[in-house]
């Protein structure tokens, strides 16, 4: 008994430094950001006078002008970006994994090619895709438009990320940005799915075939349910990436014309470090934290429960 207790103490002391560091540098700074978001800090020098929820009100009350309008656009952009980005990553990632799982020749080569974009920094991806999707003008097309022009497909040319039109609150300019982000991270979902597929014993499929299941039926009723936890992890990890996305969009398009490709991360950065509205920037950060928490916390709770059950 006492032996067990002593081991527990040792474990506690070994963990203590990292607990303290995380408490200070993660939760401490979150708390500090919370305090700043309720303050009147509006210049380069700190000012902790109480402002209540004023900084949040300015983000949501349309009558307050451009900031609220921009933030509303940002939230819609985040929603559409996240949904389409996740659909693409999960859908195409799964498709590639299934194709690779068919014991194709040169699988290793394909796997490396699909995974390789993940090794790049978002900043590099952003700059390159900015060039690729630069629209040019009618007489002098650039990037993809030059390619389409060369192929005689002029009808397909459009303004890419400089297009300010949309369908309802959805900005078409987001499409190139979503493609760039998905291009980078499809390899990641593919790798996860491929690992999952390899983990499914051949006997299961054999048994299903013996029972007369079609190949499509096997995927629907056996493979997909087994892959479900992988889908969930992929959605969580990519979901919080897309809610916080900053570097890719900042280097590729910035806020864009009429904020067509703006997201809360860019708004926060410009508000804080260009405009010196530190309290306002902290308020945006807190809202981003809440958005990510809405995704992460249910996941953490469910995994925690599962662990307790085990």
């Amino acid at each position: 008994m006492s032996h067990v207790r002593r081991e527990r103490w040792i474990a506690f002391f070994i963990l203590l430094p990292s607990i303290l560091l995380i408490a200070l540098f993660v939760y401490g700074f979150i708390a500090w950001t919370g305090v700043v978001s309720l303050s009147q800090w509006d210049t380069v020098m700190p000012d902790y006078r109480w402002a209540g929820l004023e900084n949040f009100r300015r983000l949501f009350e349309q009558a307050q002008g451009v900031a609220a309008r921009r933030f509303a656009i940002d939230l819609w952009n985040t929603l559409f970006f996240t949904i389409l980005f996740l659909l693409l990553c999960v859908g195409v990632g799964l498709l590639l994994a299934i194709l690779l799982d068919q014991k194709v020749k040169g699988e290793g080569v394909f796997r490396t090619i699909y995974l390789f974009p993940m090794a790049l920094s978002f900043v590099v991806t952003g700059v390159v895709w900015q060039w690729i999707f630069a629209p040019g003008t009618a007489n002098y097309p650039r990037g993809v438009n030059a390619l389409l022009h060369g192929l005689g497909l002029d009808a397909l040319r459009w303004k890419w990320y400089t297009d300010t039109s949309g369908i309802g609150p959805f900005h078409k300019a987001l499409i190139p940005v979503i493609l760039a982000a998905a291009w980078q991270l499809i390899g990641y979902t593919m790798a996860m799915y491929l690992a999952g597929l390899r983990g499914i014993p051949e006997e299961l499929r054999e048994a299903a075939r013996v029972d007369g299941a079609s190949e499509v039926g096997i995927y629907r009723h056996i493979v997909m349910p087994i892959l479900q936890p992988i889908t969930l992890s992929a959605l969580i990890i990519l979901g919080h990436t897309s809610l916080k996305i900053f570097d890719l969009i900042y280097t590729m398009t910035g806020a864009g014309p009429a904020f067509a490709t703006d997201v809360p991360g860019i708004f926060m950065f410009e508000t804080t470090f260009q405009g010196n509205h530190y309290a306002q920037g902290a308020a945006i950060s807190i809202i981003m934290l809440v958005l990510v928490a809405l995704v992460i916390v249910p996941y953490l709770v469910s995994t925690f429960r599962r662990e307790v059950q085990l």
């Binding site: 380069v44 020098m45 451009v66 309008r69 007489n139 002098y140 400089t162 806020a255 014309p257 405009g275």
Partner: protein
């Protein structure tokens, strides 16, 4: 252990003694020593060479001072500003730092009481008559001068392709009417009349500020920044309408380009004109074009006789570790010798009016003439006219305006930005 402590104690005592000595030492002919940390975002090209040229002058005068060149690269100073803010908030200022002259310095650091006034440096060195009054006004707040400008750039220049203009029978426009007449001719010839590269939006703010000056004139334009000109007035509305009309003549992919890519459209003859600051001249020259041969320039429409200025300057933070050496640095920055060393390399003109003309090229000579005789107004897009918070709010309004061209919405957003900045009521 104890030995170490004794050593530490001795060093501490020596340091205090040294500080006392520098503080009490006679200001005249006192030999300067120690370290001098100069903070800037001049890391490459002509500006870094210019900075080094000023360091050389300083080192010749004060050989015992060790200069520490603290630069932070990237983001047109954005990264440097973030680093500087952290250091200032922690009361750990460099001895002197680069900052855009005018409200970027005043609203950020002077109002926070982090700077020392340096009017005495101007008086002691007899500079008051050497700098134009318009520049002194931009540098001043509450009757004191707060930084030494090392260079001047001009924002309100229209650059044009001479071959394109001659081939299409267009002459450089001076007024908005002439501008639109020229633009129509170029458009009919299938040439983009006005090149714009507003990726990151500041180039649109820059263009709009020249339209404001051209519409309001220098006095009323200055009034926009101190609350005496009404943002809701008919003239601001007219400026917004002119800007909206100009947008019918720009390259359709302006949101994807940077200013230098827009300048390239002009250089390649795909576009006729672009309105940009005079750092564009350095860019044209860097690709091998010659002033008044391949490219020409006139003041932006309606702004003849007005010099829309921006300037890099150095200030004296409170609690500078080596104050005496920092003051000596500011003396070099403001001297004729220092400015004539820096500016030919940077491609700008001296902030003083007595620069050595032989050192500057054809364009810069014309800018020096205008600078000495014109009305001088501060630039909005480059930190001289308004606080960073205010100019960010104008940028946000422009981001929407550039695409929806809704004059009423843009005007009310800009009027509100003035109120939020605490200048208008």
């Amino acid at each position: 252990m104890t030995k170490k402590r004794v050593l530490f104690g001795m060093v501490a005592v020596l340091l205090v003694a040294a500080m006392l000595l520098t503080a009490c030492g006679k200001p005249k002919e006192a030999k300067l020593g120690g370290k001098l940390e100069i903070f800037s975002w001049w890391t490459a090209g002509g500006e870094a060479e210019g900075l080094n040229a000023m360091f050389k002058i300083y080192a010749a005068k004060h050989p015992d001072v060790e200069i520490i060149n603290a630069t932070v690269a990237g983001g047109a100073g954005m990264n440097a500003k973030a680093v500087l803010a952290t250091r200032m908030q922690a009361n750990d200022p460099p001895d002197s730092f680069q900052v855009h002259a005018g409200h970027e310095l005043i609203d950020s650091w002077v109002k926070a009481e982090k700077m020392e006034p340096i009017t005495f440096i101007f008086k002691d060195n007899g500079w008051m008559g050497k700098y134009p009054q318009g520049v002194i006004d931009v540098l001043s707040y509450k009757g004191e001068i707060w930084s030494v400008p090392v260079n001047i750039h001009r924002a309100n220049i229209l650059w044009y392709n001479k071959q394109v203009f001659t081939a299409n029978g267009v002459t450089p426009p001076n007024s908005f009417d002439e501008f639109f007449a020229a633009a129509d001719k170029l458009k009919a010839a299938g040439i983009t009349p006005l090149a714009l590269g507003d990726n990151g939006i500041w180039a649109s703010v820059h263009l709009f500020e020249t339209v404001l000056i051209g519409t309001l004139g220098p006095d009323k334009y200055r009034g926009l920044w101190n609350g005496t000109t009404d943002w809701n007035g008919a003239e601001v509305k007219a400026a917004l309408e002119t800007f909206a009309r100009m947008m019918q003549y720009v390259n359709e992919d302006h949101a994807a380009l940077s200013w230098d890519q827009a300048a390239k459209l002009v250089a390649d003859g795909r576009a006729g004109m672009t309105i940009m600051g005079d750092w564009a001249e350095g860019w044209f020259k860097s690709i091998g074009q010659k002033p008044n041969v391949e490219f020409g320039w006139v003041p932006a429409p309606g702004t003849k006789g007005t010099f829309d200025m921006l300037s890099d300057s150095f200030g004296l933070p409170k609690g500078a570790p080596n104050r005496a050496a920092a003051i000596a640095w500011l003396v070099v920055c403001g001297s004729k010798e220092g400015q004539d060393a820096f500016n030919p390399l940077k491609g700008s003109i001296p902030a003083r009016t007595d620069g050595d003309r032989a050192l500057y090229d054809e364009y810069l000579k014309s800018a020096m003439d205008d600078f000495a005789s014109n009305q001088i107004v501060p630039s909005l897009a480059h930190g001289a006219a308004a606080s960073e918070g205010w100019s960010t709010a104008v940028s946000n309004a422009m981001t929407l305006f550039v695409s929806d061209l809704n004059v009423a919405a843009a005007q009310s957003a800009m009027a509100k930005a003035c109120v939020d900045a605490g200048v208008c009521k």
